[in-house]
């Protein structure tokens, strides 16, 4: 019972907490959607495995506010992303650009696929080779038995 009461208190309190975060563009759904889309592309540097859309860290809130201000000022998405990259580097992008320093990151999966394929082909070849070695010619008795079996099968 005590637990339930504290849960209810928390729920009520959290309502007030979100009420405090002003949403100046809430009346402009298009702009708010852009804020959302942009903040999903940007990494929160404090909690590095979250986008700033997911994060409630101070800095993420500040950056979202900054994005809002820039959208209000009529900046394009590219200008806003460039603004972030100029300050926090490529690391702020969830989707890193293809560059000399990132080719291993982008090419890595293909490289591993290639290594896997080469290994697979080599294995299959070796296996086929060893199976062939097993294919010694049939002995006379075996040939006769095989012919008999085939003959019995024929009418069906």
């Amino acid at each position: 019972m005590k637990h339930l009461l504290s849960v209810i208190c928390l729920v009520i309190a959290s309502q007030f907490a979100t009420a405090g975060e002003a949403q100046p563009l809430a009346d402009d759904p298009v702009a708010e959607k852009r804020v959302q889309a942009l903040s999903e592309e940007l990494r929160c540097l404090v909690c590095q495995n979250q986008t700033i859309a997911d994060s409630h860290a101070e800095l993420a809130t500040d950056l979202k506010r900054e994005i809002r201000t820039m959208i209000q000022a009529g900046k394009s998405d590219k200008e806003i992303i460039d603004f972030m990259v100029a300050r926090y580097g490529d690391f702020v992008l969830y989707k890193p650009p293809v560059k000399a320093t990132t080719w291993l990151l982008w090419g890595g999966p293909a490289l591993f696929m290639l290594i896997g394929l080469i290994a697979l082909v080599r294995y299959l070849r070796r296996r086929a080779g060893s199976l062939q070695a097993d294919d010694a010619p049939l002995s006379e008795a075996e040939t006769r038995r095989a012919a008999e079996l085939l003959k019995n099968d024929a009418p069906r």
């Binding site: 540097l45 101070e58 500040d62 900054e66 100029a86 926090y88 580097g89």
Partner: protein
């Protein structure tokens, strides 16, 4: 025998990669600002309160910009190093007091008037420096953290080394330890002062 060689090689490679990867500092994000002119700003000084500061005021000098706040725990850890440094080395050390009030989650700034936030920030920052010592030539107040964003601040404390022509030459994220000071900061400062 041969059968075990490749799995062993794979294992060793994995161990090496993990050893390197786990020893990297994920907070050490290379700053794109190194080698670029320090972003300009104009902020009021903590002391004297009626003066303001812009980076161009220190043109021609090698100087340090250290981001701090009284709510920042790691700043406490770093502070004695800065105090020692300021006694030994005579060069401008500018404190950028970052979101003194807003950074502290116990305050709700939305219910505060700007003047209230300003005076509360001055009071708190001043008290903190009075208690722990003031290594700064002066500090400026970045109440809303906008200047912090221009400098790519994401984890206080942070320190920037700025050369005579106003270019950022180094950024250190996290507290300055005596090792960082001896091995990275001081050699760079000496070299920049000669230039």
């Amino acid at each position: 025998m041969n059968k075990f060689v490749w799995p062993l090689v794979g294992f060793v490679v994995l161990v090496v990669l993990l050893a390197v990867g786990l020893n990297l500092n994920p907070r050490d994000v290379p700053s794109p600002l190194v080698g670029k002119p320090a972003p300009t700003f104009n902020l009021g000084k903590l002391n004297p309160p009626d003066q303001s500061f812009a980076p161009k005021d220190l043109q021609g000098k090698v100087w340090l910009l250290n981001v701090w706040a009284s709510w920042c725990v790691s700043c406490r850890q770093e502070h004695p190093v800065l105090v020692e440094f300021s006694k030994k080395v005579k060069m401008p050390l500018v404190g950028l007091n970052y979101k003194e009030v807003r950074g502290d989650t116990s305050f709700d700034v939305t219910r505060m008037k700007p003047e209230q936030e300003q005076s509360l920030a001055r009071e708190r920052a001043g008290q903190w420096l009075a208690r722990h010592g003031d290594p700064y030539t002066f500090s400026v107040l970045d109440l809303d953290g906008r200047v912090g964003i221009d400098y790519g601040v994401y984890g206080v404390p942070e320190t920037y080394v700025i050369d005579k022509s106003g270019v950022i030459r180094m950024k250190h994220t996290g507290p300055i330890t005596p090792e960082v000071l001896e091995q990275k900061l001081l050699p760079l400062i000496a070299q920049l002062n000669k230039a």
